[in-house]
């Protein structure tokens, strides 16, 4: 007890860590009871996977996926998994490490033959899946595998697959792994920062904040008990310690981001940067429209497509200084009066180009146009000036 009073701040920090650690462990155990504290993992040989769709190759324990059929590649492990309840996490190494929230794990159980279940990666978690997120995970799994989508990347490498049991130790390791997950700059970064994995079970901010405040409360109580005044410098040190702990994690994230920025963009011209980014295909498409297809002087361009589509919203930026209107799913009467071009980025239900009458038709309405440039990424039509449109009121 004497040492407790001799080093009051250190004791408070330690006590708070023990209390908080115990409380959080109990909380985790209540959420999903773990039968054991530790347990063995089960590695999965990469050779046990077969291509069901698409193709690729295997090299020294690495599975490379680089061929797609109708935009998909499916790898499957037909050996399945006995007593899958034993396992809570599936860990793996996936490269390139980029956002791939469209990479789902699929599995089906022998007990429910014919019904296939899927679960996608968490928004920014690229190295593990929490299998308990899916209610159907359990029992004998007859087959499982991954579905890759072509537009995520042309080539993926997968290795180091391993099932981990749902032990207490693994729960904590998974939480720490969530905290250290790399959070790449994306559209949400300007609005909020996750601080590791999206929807992590136990946010680091909450844990560190609770630890610091609890420590300071215990320290104050100890000093009150000793009838000594609190030491402002020590309090400041603990306040900064908590902040710096989280900042260290954030700086680590920023340094990874800096490395990524350096690798992808450093030393390149603006055009080369766009060609290196995630929007490269669309950038090339819009540059082609701007430089080769559209006249040099600013034109009216009406974009049709899904209302909230990212590329639709970005069309004015890439086609500037062309005068782009992107606020409608179907053509409007005023388009013909103003003249210009219609750009259709996605097939729109009910809107068709009629080759015979050279019109865009939807319902009873039509707009006279000439196809100018047709590409899988979008179709460009010029509004004919000879009129003949018919749009119902």
């Amino acid at each position: 007890m004497k040492w407790l009073l001799r080093l009051p701040m250190f004791s408070a920090l330690l006590l708070a860590a023990l209390l908080l650690g115990g409380a959080l462990t109990a909380f985790l155990n209540l959420q999903t009871p773990a039968k054991e504290i530790t347990g063995k993992s089960t590695p999965v040989a990469i050779e046990s996977f077969r291509f069901m769709k698409g193709g690729g190759e295997q090299k020294q324990g690495i599975l490379i996926i680089n061929q797609y059929t109708n935009g998909k590649a499916i790898i499957s492990n037909l050996q399945g998994l006995e007593n899958s309840d034993r396992f809570r996490y599936l860990q793996f190494q996936l490269t390139p490490a980029m956002l791939a929230d469209d990479l789902p794990l699929f599995f089906w159980r022998s007990a429910k033959t014919g019904e296939i279940f899927t679960m996608a990666l968490e928004e920014n978690v690229l190295d593990h899946l929490d299998l308990k997120r899916h209610r159907q995970w359990g029992g004998h799994i007859s087959e499982y595998g991954f579905i890759f989508t072509e537009n995520s990347s042309q080539s993926w490498s997968l290795q180091g697959l391993e099932f981990f049991p749902g032990t207490l130790e693994q729960s904590w390791l998974s939480i720490v792994s969530d905290w250290l997950e790399f959070e790449v700059w994306s559209q949400h970064s300007i609005n909020f920062i996750y601080g590791g994995a999206a929807n992590g079970r136990l946010p680091a901010t909450l844990v560190v904040g609770a630890w610091v405040l609890l420590s300071l409360l215990l320290y104050s109580l100890l000093m009150h008990w000793k009838k000594h005044p609190v030491n402002a410098r020590k309090i400041a040190a603990v306040v900064l310690l908590g902040w710096m702990l989280l900042d260290a994690r954030w700086l680590f994230n920023l340094l990874q981001q800096l490395q990524l920025t350096h690798n992808v963009y450093a030393g390149k011209s603006l055009a080369e940067k766009y060609e290196s980014g995630l929007d490269a295909d669309y950038y090339r498409y819009f540059q082609h429209l701007k430089k080769q297809i559209l006249p040099a002087s600013p034109q009216f361009v009406y974009v049709l497509g899904k209302k909230t589509d990212y590329f639709r919203a970005k069309t004015p930026w890439w086609l500037a200084p062309h005068n782009v209107f992107n606020q409608g799913s179907y053509p409007k009467l005023a388009y013909e009066k103003k003249g210009g071009y219609i750009l259709i980025l996605h097939p729109i239900s009910g809107l068709e180009f009629d080759q015979h009458s050279q019109t865009l038709r939807w319902g009873d309405a039509r707009l006279p146009v000439i196809p100018v440039y047709l590409d899988p990424l979008g179709a460009l039509y010029k509004i004919r000036e000879d009129g003949g449109s018919h749009t119902p009121p």
Binding site: W185, S186, Q187, H188, S189, I190, N191, F192, I193, Y194, G195, G196, P203, A204, T205, L206, V208, G209, V212, L213, L216, A232, I235, A236, V239, L240, G242, W243, M244, L246, D247, W250, L251, L254, Q257, L258, T261, H262, Y265, A266, L270, K273, Y274, G277, S297, P298, Q299, F300, A313, K314, P316, W317, A320, P321, N323, F325, Q327, A334, K337, K338
Partner: protein, 470 residues
């Protein structure tokens, strides 16, 4: 040429800030970090206004004329400052602040971490093409159109656009957003003569440097130890959401953080030092903030209420609040201010100048708010510390600091509650798209309140440097 583009508005603004500070009855020497920090934002505002005025008068964009105008304004500001200071000339301190020996390592660590944050953000801002959504749909998009057309093409609503055949008139959904931030982004590319995303938005990164200089200067002006002021700088620059806006510049929230955020810092400083120049600076910056983003009007209202709360007693304030409540229930609660528009409450809606009606529509956003403040990493531990420090200042704090800190947080909470808990805007909290950015606009003031509380609870009252007798 680019260095000139980035520095000239900054220098102009700094000179005029020095002149403004010369009116302080309490000051002895120029608070350089504060003048440089506030001067940056004032200078870029002047620069934007100059671009607009030159275009309005001559009908075309001219980098040369704007440069000439800024140089002339700088010369005039220098002359006026020299006149005001000629008894003591511009006494710019060159001495480093006194640091206790045992504090030196901590100070170096804080400076190193501050530099690391700024350097990493600068590398991203310089190298990445434009990323954030509203930048390429609105703020920077307008600058790009203006630069490519070499004019200030107007942006109008969709319906009006469909009815015009003028190819020089454009449309965007947010066509009503103020022009200043887009003009700021236009300025460096105008001078460079070539469009480049990073060049256009890079002043956003410089705004981060200006924010920390201003915060440091204000802390030191109250006689706070250099270590505390530097700690405040580190806390500010290591806020992850601010880092994101520095590394991915292009949004207006960071700029409003300079105008509204630093405006509140100046008001808080005035509440402690009674330096009326800071009251004037605060209200000026909050007023300019109304031209940065629509929320600026909200902050201006809050600034005026804050200032009133500092000079009136609680009893009088309660009487005024009771009168306001009575007016609302009696139906006399909506005023029509000339040029500004309606202000007040009527028929289930609040009316604010430039913002229009905010219809009452209660929202259950408690979980989203708690998640934003305490659970995700946008703010590090800011709100844990802020609320803990408010509790401490209630119990132990000095009266003046307590009054300022509490009235600021009370007003801020009322605004947050009205906007997000009681109106349709609450939807923006649920998907976390606007809540964080609204708080970013007052972030410097939140850090300042935290330091104020610390100083009020743990330190003997220091003699403000500027109150020292000559």
């Amino acid at each position: 040429m680019l260095i000139l583009a980035y520095l000239l508005p900054w220098i102009t603004g700094t000179i005029w800030l020095v002149w403004l500070e010369s009116f302080s009855a309490q000051r002895q020497q120029v608070n350089l970090p504060r003048a440089v920090g506030y001067g940056f934002f004032l200078g870029y505002f002047i620069c934007s206004a100059a671009i607009y005025c030159v275009y309005a008068i001559f009908g075309h964009l001219s980098a040369t004329m704007v440069t000439g105008l800024l140089l002339a304004l700088s010369a005039l500001g220098l002359f006026l400052s020299w006149q005001k200071y000629r008894n003591g000339w511009l006494a710019i301190p060159v001495k480093a602040p006194v640091i206790k020996r045992q504090d030196k390592w901590l100070l170096l660590l804080l400076l190193a971490l501050t530099t690391a944050h700024l350097a990493v953000a600068a590398y991203d801002a310089y190298n990445r093409p434009l990323l954030p959504w509203d930048a390429w749909t609105t703020w920077t998009y307008r600058a790009k159109i203006w630069f490519l057309n070499q004019d200030l093409s107007p942006f109008i609503g969709a319906e009006a656009w469909l009815n015009t055949s003028n190819p020089g008139i454009y449309t965007i959904p947010a066509h009503g957003y103020p022009l200043i931030v887009s003009l700021i982004q236009l300025w460096p590319v105008m001078l460079q003569g070539q469009w480049n995303d990073a060049v256009a938005v890079f002043p956003g990164l410089l705004a981060g440097i200006a924010l920390i200089l201003a915060l440091y200067g204000q802390g030191r002006s109250l006689g706070w130890p250099a270590l505390l002021a530097i700690a405040g700088v580190y806390l500010l620059v290591s806020i992850p959401l601010l880092n994101a806006h520095l590394a991915l510049p292009g949004y207006a929230d960071l700029w409003l953080g300079g105008f509204a955020g630093l405006g509140f810092v100046a008001l808080l400083q005035w509440s402690q030092s009674q330096d009326r120049t800071q009251l004037l600076t605060g209200l000026l910056f909050l007023g300019l903030g109304a031209f940065i983003k629509r929320e600026g009007s909200l902050w201006l209202m809050m600034g005026l209420l804050f200032a009133i709360m500092q000079v009136l007693s609680w009893k009088l304030l309660l009487a005024m609040a009771a009168t306001a409540a009575l007016a609302i229930f009696s139906g006399y609660s909506l005023l029509n201010l000339p040029w500004l528009g309606q202000i007040g409450y009527a028929d289930g809606a609040f009316y604010l100048p430039r913002l229009g009606a905010i219809t009452l529509q209660p929202q259950d956003v408690s979980f989203a708010v708690i998640n934003n403040l305490f659970s995700n990493s946008s703010w590090n531990l800011l709100y844990f510390y802020l609320f803990a420090s408010l509790l401490l200042v209630l119990v132990h704090g000095k009266q003046r600091a307590r009054h300022s800190a509490l009235s600021f947080i009370l007003l801020l909470t009322t605004i947050i509650a009205t906007v997000f808990f009681l109106s349709a805007e609450g939807e923006w909290v649920k998907d976390s798209t606007a809540f964080g950015r609204l708080l970013l606009q007052v972030l410097p003031a939140l850090i300042f309140v935290l330091l104020l509380n610390w100083q009020a609870v743990f330190h003997q009252p220091a003699q403000p440097r500027e109150v020292e007798k000559r």
